[in-house]
């Protein structure tokens, strides 16, 4: 065991790690953070930034091109695309956030329990997770929403359901990696309770990894929500969801492609921003781990 090698590989502390991580974030990560912050602000202040009420139809201005009275044009009902995009951000962000928070909490608890307890608990819990994973997630989400009805709550539940096994797996793997480390053995040897070891010692250790996953899965959740809306399983019209706007725009793609273009770009930008953040965080936390989800 070489002391210098071990010193070089030494883990960082939370305070240090936090400062260090921020310091090591690259330009593209900051770009991702900036985009997300901007879009969150846009969603919050949508009523002030919107130039028209998002549901207001105007027969005169159907399929109006960008510029003129409409910044990004108007759709086939003559509704302002810019204003609808602003309000649509609310749904994309809210659904993604609630779904991923739910999956994060439930998945991490399941994964940590399975990883720490091992044995039968582990086999049973992970078997259930693997069964859920065996469905293609979009198909699963689609089936759930179709069967339960396309309400906000149901979409959140469906997306959370598909994301939970991923968090369970990550948490489990991280806990198992920590569980065999000597400091956890030391804790057990000193008679600390399982809960104390899990929450006071292991949880802080796996937190960075969970943060990375959260960001990457926010991207997936936004994409899934948009895909569902595109299929026609989003919030019912006239609610302005981005995926729904692409769906409506696609019907007029031959004549006015800007209808589909702008919401498509909005989705792409938001998903990319979350991916940039997740990717950058991962590199900053552990430069060696550069892997997709």
């Amino acid at each position: 065991m070489s002391e210098t090698a071990a010193e070089a590989a030494r883990p960082t502390t939370p305070q240090n790690a936090f400062r260090g991580v921020l310091g090591r974030l690259n330009l593209s990560t900051w770009a991702g953070i900036a985009i997300v912050v901007l879009l969150v602000l846009a969603a919050i202040f949508a009523p002030y930034l919107a130039t028209h009420p998002p549901a207001k139809q105007s027969i005169m201005d159907q399929l109006a091109p960008p510029g003129g009275g409409y910044l990004l044009g108007a759709d086939q009902f003559g509704r302002d695309i810019w204003s609808r995009l602003l309000f649509g951000a609310r749904y994309s962000l809210a659904i993604g956030l609630f779904a991923i928070l739910t999956a994060l909490v439930i998945g991490s608890l399941i994964g940590m329990t399975a990883g720490y307890r091992g044995g039968r608990t582990d086999i049973l819990l992970m078997q259930v997770m693997d069964v859920i994973l065996a469905f293609p997630s979009l198909i699963l989400g689609l089936a759930l929403v179709a069967l339960m009805g396309a309400t906000m709550t149901n979409i959140v539940i469906a997306i959370a359901f598909t994301a939970t096994p991923a968090f369970a797996r990550i948490a489990r793997a991280a806990v198992i990696a920590q569980r065999d480390r000597e400091y956890v053995q030391a804790c057990r040897a000193m008679g600390f309770s399982g809960g104390r070891i899990l929450f006071r010692h292991i949880l802080p250790a796996i937190l960075p990894e969970v943060m990375v996953m959260t960001s990457l899965w926010m991207a997936t959740a936004v994409r899934t929500e948009a895909s569902l809306a595109f299929i026609g399983l989003g919030l019912a019209p006239p609610t302005p969801t981005w995926g729904g706007m692409v769906r409506e725009g696609f019907e007029n793609i031959l004549s006015s492609f800007h209808l589909a273009l702008f919401p498509s770009l909005a989705i792409l930008i938001l998903v990319l921003a979350f991916n940039l953040i997740g990717d950058g965080l991962r590199d900053a936390i552990d430069p060696r781990l550069k892997d997709a989800s």
Binding site: V128, D130, V131, F230, G232, F257, L268, R288, D291
Partner: protein
């Protein structure tokens, strides 16, 4: 090796069984009486009872479950509530379209993604690496329908190189390929993004290992080290990831099929959903799961060839 495969096969059976059970339960717990769906709200009570009997819905749940399982094992997934045709038949009619699309996309994605990932890893932290990383991140941020729409707008509408609608009816091979090109490309680009990333990270991991240093100390050339020693070890994680991402690919195929009005499982499941055809839906979920399970088994089988250690696990 045999016991490893037997274990994986056992897991596959358990998964399929759980999915069948789950599907059976969900379809029966959810609101909406299928009989009323078929006959409409105005149906006479007598016809409702008759249909119930015909569909076996008057039997106790456990009997229904047993019959459902028994039939599913024999490949009988019931008859569609709407069209009246056997579900298996309906699915088999469109399955080849989805399979050819996904397999072509997978091959194209791997053929482009693996070399790109290796190149990025070898040129780590230099321009090609940055460009490829950004592009692959863009690729996996791209919802499949957006990718499909962009390709459609540019290559079918703007340049008119490819048909807008790729719905069947192709007589010649060239025409068939022309129809497949854009949907395949849309899926392959996303797949390539995933494969590039995992190849790059696996490659970086492997390149830092001791045996790579051993190979260099032997006097092996840089290309021998990369393509023979390192990539051989990378193929294991790459295979895992391809297996995992096939679920994403299958999900994306639904979106692509819609954009290009292409026949396939995607269009069929949408029909099933919009018509509330529960038996068809149930059958399709089983088929999707079967596909994933088969892919996982194939992945496990591939390990046996790629990793000599697997038999000892």
């Amino acid at each position: 090796m045999v016991s490893f495969l037997a274990r994986r096969l056992g897991f596959a059976v358990v998964t399929l069984f759980s999915v069948l059970t789950l599907v059976f339960l969900i379809v029966r717990i959810l609101p909406g009486d299928p009989v009323l769906v078929i006959l409409g709200d105005q149906a006479s009570p007598a016809s409702v009872i008759a249909l119930r009997q015909r569909l076996g819905l008057d039997q106790p749940l456990l009997v229904q479950y047993g019959r459902f399982l028994l039939q599913a094992i024999q490949g009988d997934l019931g008859t569609s509530m709407i069209s009246g045709r056997p579900v298996t038949e309906e699915i088999l009619a469109v399955l080849p379209y989805t399979l050819e699309l996904t397999i072509a996309a997978l091959i194209l994605g791997a053929a482009l993604g693996i070399p790109a990932g290796v190149w990025a890893a070898v040129r780590r932290n230099r321009l090609p690496d940055y460009v490829l990383r950004l592009l692959s991140l863009l690729g996996l941020s791209l919802p499949a329908f957006v990718a499909a729409i962009i390709l459609l707008m540019v290559f079918a509408i703007q340049f008119r190189w490819f048909p807008v609608i790729s719905a069947g009816g192709a007589d010649t091979l060239t025409e068939r390929l022309r129809q497949m090109a854009l949907p395949t490309l849309a899926l392959a680009l996303i797949m390539m993004a995933y494969i590039t990333r995992v190849t790059r990270s696996a490659m970086l991991e492997v390149l830092s290992q001791d045996f790579v240093r051993t190979a260099r100390a032997k006097g092996a050339s840089a290309s021998a080290v990369i393509w023979s020693h390192a990539l051989g070890n990378c193929l294991i994680p790459i295979t895992t990831v391809i297996g995992l991402y096939l679920g994403i690919l299958i999900g994306n195929s639904v979106l692509t099929e819609i954009v290009f009005s292409r026949p396939g499982l995607g269009k069929l499941i949408l029909t099933a959903l919009s018509q509330r055809d529960y038996t068809l839906l149930q059958g399709m979920i089983v088929v999707y799961t079967l596909m994933v399970v088969v892919v996982n088994l194939l992945t496990d089988l591939t390990y046996g060839f790629l990793d000599p250690r697997v038999q000892y696990k």
